[in-house]
């Protein structure tokens, strides 16, 4: 059919440019360019100029992925990775260099426990703090610039964009502008920014508490990949002496499911590891499906790592509930109509064997799960049905 041809051509173009990227990274090291303390203009570009590899998924892979043989050790060492990749941004600012929001963001981002959106929020709060502006207007413009540069730094990350937007909404939509005195207005903004950062940090705890009512003794939970908030949910359930078992999918390509099974085993939760294609086979034993989300979109559907959609489909057809745990800073004003209607986020896939150059590889890192396949969303705003997401977004942005 002729209308399909453009996408085919596009795929081909990408496959022509990708090959050198596709070879699997042999270590956990980021192929990010080392962001030396240069000025904002330089950092405005995406670390991956050809926009093929998603920085967001690289970070995820760095934090949670299991790619090499001695992954157990690496998972332990994941914290504080790559010290030379990220020069200390505080040192940069101390040295009198211009403050860069990207550096600030990157320094926050290195912490695996900190979500990317929260890192962005903290970076933006630092922008307000370091701002040399003398009027509110200047401050707002500077904040806007910083948020735009953050957003353009990685367009594939939904939570980064959503977090920046939310921060701008939350911080600037305040009575601060009424203050006569600029300094008090600025301190009010900082206070608000810090409060917002705090709320975002607590979100995971709130979600874990909310979801406890849904985990009953003796249930079997299927999880997909590694999601920090899902892990928090399961950890809280295990700590409150609930008896349940967990099926972990492997979570190819970054195999983050292995990491989750490892963490759960440490908590003495019975856990079983599945390959991604065994989901339908085990679904009849499963009582509920728990997934995280990279982004929650306007329709109430979610964008999450590859494979979520098919798990949701299988669960839906077997009448199993699909629960999504997602912090509210992941709510984005996006509305994908189908799987291809998103900014492509690609990630390299290691097949273990060399792939002939004539064979195309689907390298998309995420898929879109429409709302009709989701049962409930656990967010820090409460337990929501998918259709409420849009209501919340409308009230937030309009």
């Amino acid at each position: 059919m002729w209308w399909r041809s453009p996408s085919f051509i596009l795929d081909k173009q990408q496959s022509d440019t990708v090959p050198h990227q596709r070879k699997p990274p042999d270590t956990l090291a980021h192929p990010l360019p080392s962001p030396l303390p240069f000025s904002m203009e330089d950092t405005l570009q995406n670390p991956n100029p050809q926009n093929n590899i998603s920085a967001y998924y690289q970070t995820r892979a760095a934090h949670h992925a299991v790619v090499t043989g001695d992954w157990l050790a690496q998972a332990q060492a994941a914290i504080g990775q790559d010290p030379d990749d990220f020069p200390d941004s505080t040192a940069a600012t101390v040295a009198g260099k211009p403050f860069s929001v990207i550096d600030e963001f990157n320094s926050w981002r290195k912490q695996p426990e900190l979500a990317e959106a929260v890192a962005a929020i903290r970076a933006l709060a630092a922008v307000i703090r370091n701002c040399q502006a003398t009027t509110m207007m200047e401050l707002e413009i500077e904040l806007k610039k910083a948020s735009d540069s953050l957003k353009s730094w990685d367009t594939t990350s939904i939570s980064l964009t959503a977090g920046c937007d939310l921060f701008m909404r939350y911080v600037t939509r305040t009575s601060a502008l009424e203050y006569e005195d600029f300094d008090s207005a600025k301190s009010r903004l900082i206070e608000r920014a810090e409060k917002f950062g705090e709320i975002s940090c607590k979100a995971r705890r709130i979600i874990a508490m909310l979801s406890q009512d849904f985990i009953f003794d003796g249930c079997t939970i299927l999880v997909h990949g590694f999601s920090r908030v899902v892990f928090e949910v399961l950890k809280t359930a295990a700590q409150s002496k609930k008896l349940f078992r967990v099926f972990c999918t492997e979570g190819r390509p970054d195999r983050s499911g292995l990491r989750l099974s490892n963490e759960l085993a440490k908590l003495d939760v019975p856990v079983k590891l599945l390959i991604d294609s065994a989901v339908a086979y085990t679904m009849d034993e499963v009582d509920m499906v728990f997934v995280g989300a990279d982004g929650v979109v306007e329709s109430g559907g979610i964008i999450n790592m590859m494979g979520t959609f098919q798990i949701a489909l299988v669960a839906h057809s077997m009448n199993k509930p699909v629960y999504v745990a997602a912090e509210s800073y992941k709510f984005a004003r996006l509305y994908p109509l189908d799987q291809k209607d998103m900014v492509p986020a690609l990630c390299p896939i290691d097949f273990g064997v060399p792939i002939p150059s004539k064979v195309e590889v689907e390298t998309s890192a995420r898929d879109y799960t429409p709302p009709q396949y989701l049962t409930l969303l656990f967010t820090d705003l409460g337990v929501l049905t998918p259709s409420v997401v849009s209501d919340e977004l409308i009230q937030l942005y309009l």
Binding site: W3, S7, E298, S299, R333, L337, S387, I394, Q395, L398
Partner: protein, 656 residues
């Protein structure tokens, strides 16, 4: 409708679907329970018998009509439609599990059980302010007892008193039905179909029973209710008249009596927004006729299922109205002009109609001067209302126009008392300008900006009919240099898509033109469906040009996303489940005749046949599950979020 609720047994129900108007129901076993009472009072007693005018709308086909008809013609005509399941014995005890009053009605005075239902019904119709849910029957029920008491007293009274008040309520519907020898059970839900009940007693027994009840109730009614007597009286005459009267007269009599009751009911409802006019409601139609400027003649063969909608002969009013131009002094020429344009079909499309109306009102306001001894707020509102009813006569208002009028009236009502007349006029004109700009022109621009993000290179976009906002989207996407193909689906009789096609092809877009018959063939090549809409309702239902639902359904079946483009001022808080309750009927000739084809003239001499009903529907309702996304000026939202917009937006445009 399932077999249990077979419509033939129901005297009040509007018969569903297409059927031959005078065909009596084939229920031979039923005849014995309907003896024709020749001793009934003569027809001249009927208050309505002289009100039968040549322009009278033919009455709805109640069972009573059919039965009376049957009494004279012994030949039973076969059942015209399959679902009217015939022939159940009247001695069948239980009709349905949800029909508990039947035995009560048959054997004992039906006081307790059905009364609660009637109350429920009454409250419902009271609460459903828009009158949207109400079809004629529930309305009649509500009116038939509402004359007797006011609801507040019921709500406040104790159970004992409550019961006492209820009595007449129960009796009335029962009485009026009994003449027609069928008992209608009042329903909880207010859909039009009342449930059939099988009589177990003979006619005489029931009459005796009713007389006793009536006597018992008369006292109670007089005490509790002041109006009770007046509403009760015609009821007493009614049953007898009905039997002998020729079909039209009898049911008109019924409706006239209801008119009397309705007037008292009207006072009770003053604070509630007027329900949509139901055109099978004789009394209101008559009243509307008196006020009417446009001399509409009723269509001869009205489509049965759509009797509640206005069905007029098309093409007759325009010359008449034109000739009357100088006699209508209260009508502002701008309003008159726009009304004529509506009538002639020169202005069509939701936005165009809305803007034309607003601009006419702007003219009105500019030329307006408050008469002495009157306040601008009230007098202007009344004037606007009269113009609106003129517009309604020319063509039924769309829901978006209703929203607009509501906006304008709220602006007038909110004018401060201190403001001078010229200032008030200026502020109203500015408000109208701002409404047009913000809610229509700018909204369209925002919609275009949003929609364009959903058009990719290589897409095949399908659209149906001609929607101005979809056209703007396509043109803008083309301007941006996107490579896409457009499929325009069209349908008879308006063929609006051809005009769109001409404009698009003129701008250099690559287009395919097809009729709706081929939509299932073309759909598998399509990647997006863009549709316009006349209105979006609170449950996500899209109310749009007829055929839209079909296109959306096919797209849904092919997993093609359906995007509805609609400005937020067209959102309405009502809920629509089907396209029957609210619709507009077009000219039936338009579908019976094919212009320019002399060989297709099969219907040429048939249009006035009694057993032919031509249905030219203008709108249909697309259920929300077929809609992937609604693009509005507030962004791209799922159909489930329409109520949020209605809530937020409704608040906004009151203090705009």
């Amino acid at each position: 409708m399932d077999a249990r609720r077979s419509t033939t047994a129901v005297p009040r129900v509007r018969q569903v679907g297409f059927f031959t108007p005078n065909a009596p129901p084939a229920q031979p076993s039923r005849t014995h329970s309907f003896p024709v009472d020749s001793s009934s009072p003569p027809l001249s007693n009927s208050p309505a018998s002289n009100s039968l005018s040549p322009v009278m709308i033919p009455p709805p086909r109640h069972l009573s009509d059919n039965l009376a008809h049957r009494a004279t013609s012994p030949l039973p005509v076969p059942e015209p439609s399959a679902f009217r399941r015939p022939i159940r014995s009247h001695h069948v005890a239980v009709v349905g599990s949800y029909n508990p009053t039947e035995s009560l009605l048959g054997s004992s005075p039906p006081l307790a059980s059905p009364s609660s239902r009637v109350i429920g019904d009454g409250e419902f119709s009271e609460e459903s302010t828009a009158g949207w849910f109400r079809r004629s029957n529930s309305a009649k029920f509500a009116s038939s007892f509402s004359g007797g008491f006011d609801l507040t007293s019921i709500k406040s009274s104790e159970t004992g008193g409550f019961h006492q008040v209820k009595k007449p309520v129960v009796a009335q519907p029962k009485e009026e039905k009994s003449g027609a020898a069928a008992v209608v059970e009042p329903q909880i839900n207010s859909s039009s179909s009342t449930k059939p009940l099988k009589e177990k007693t003979t006619k005489a027994e029931r009459r005796a029973l009713q007389e006793a009840q009536r006597a018992a109730k008369a006292a109670a009614k007089d005490m509790t209710v002041s109006v009770g007597v007046s509403t009760c009286k015609p009821v007493k005459q009614q049953p007898a008249q009905k039997k002998d009267a020729p079909p039209p007269a009898s049911s008109i009599a019924v409706s006239d009596r209801k008119g009397g009751e309705r007037s008292t009911e009207k006072e009770r409802r003053k604070d509630i927004p007027a329900p949509r006019m139901q055109f099978d409601d004789k009394s209101r139609v008559e009243k509307a006729k008196k006020r009417a400027v446009v001399n509409q003649s009723e269509a001869r063969n009205r489509v049965e299922l759509f009797r509640h909608l206005p069905q007029y002969e098309h093409g007759t009013q325009l010359p008449d109205l034109v000739s009357k131009f100088f006699q209508l002094d209260p009508m502002h020429p701008a309003v008159y002009k726009v009304g004529l344009q509506y009538l002639a079909g020169d202005i069509s499309g939701g936005n165009a109609r809305c803007i034309a109306m607003l601009q006419a009102f702007q003219e009105v306001i500019k030329d307006y001067s408050t008469p002495p001894e009157k306040s601008l707020t009230r007098d202007l509102t009344a004037k606007i209302s009269s113009f609106v009813s003129f517009f309604t006569e020319c063509r039924p208002l769309s829901m978006s126009m209703g929203n607009t009028i509501r906006f304008l009236k709220s602006r007038i009502a909110k004018l401060p008392l201190t403001v001078s007349e010229s200032e008030a006029k200026a502020s109203l004109c500015a408000d109208i300008d701002r409404f047009i700009n913000e809610k229509i022109v700018l909204a369209d621009k925002v919609i275009i900006q949003h929609a364009v993000t959903k058009i990719m290179n290589g897409d095949v976009l399908l659209t149906y009919g001609s929607s101005c906002v979809v056209e703007m989207i396509l043109l803008y996407a083309h301007e941006l240099g996107k490579q896409f193909h457009v499929v325009i689906v069209d349908s008879r009789p308006k063929l609006k898509g051809q005009a769109l096609l001409r404009r698009l092809v003129g701008k250099g877009l690559s287009c395919t033109y097809t009729h709706i018959n081929a939509v299932s063939y073309i759909m598998h090549e399509v990647t997006r469906v863009f549709l316009g809409s006349s209105s979006v309702l609170s449950n996500g239902t899209v109310y749009s040009r007829v055929g839209t639902a079909c296109v959306a359904m096919v797209a849904h079946a092919f997993h093609v996303p359906v995007l509805i483009c609609c400005e937020a001022y067209k959102f309405h808080e009502r809920v629509l489940l089907d396209s029957i309750c609210s619709n507009e009927l077009g000219d039936p000739d338009a579908i019976s005749k094919v212009p320019g084809r002399m060989d297709i003239n099969y219907l040429d001499d048939l249009t006035n046949k009694d057993n032919l009903q031509l249905l030219n529907l203008m709108y249909d309702a697309t259920p929300s599950e077929y809609v992937s996304m609604i693009i509005t000026d507030y962004g791209m939202i799922p159909p489930t979020s329409v109520p949020v917009i209605v809530r937020e937006y409704g608040r906004e445009y009151l203090w705009i």
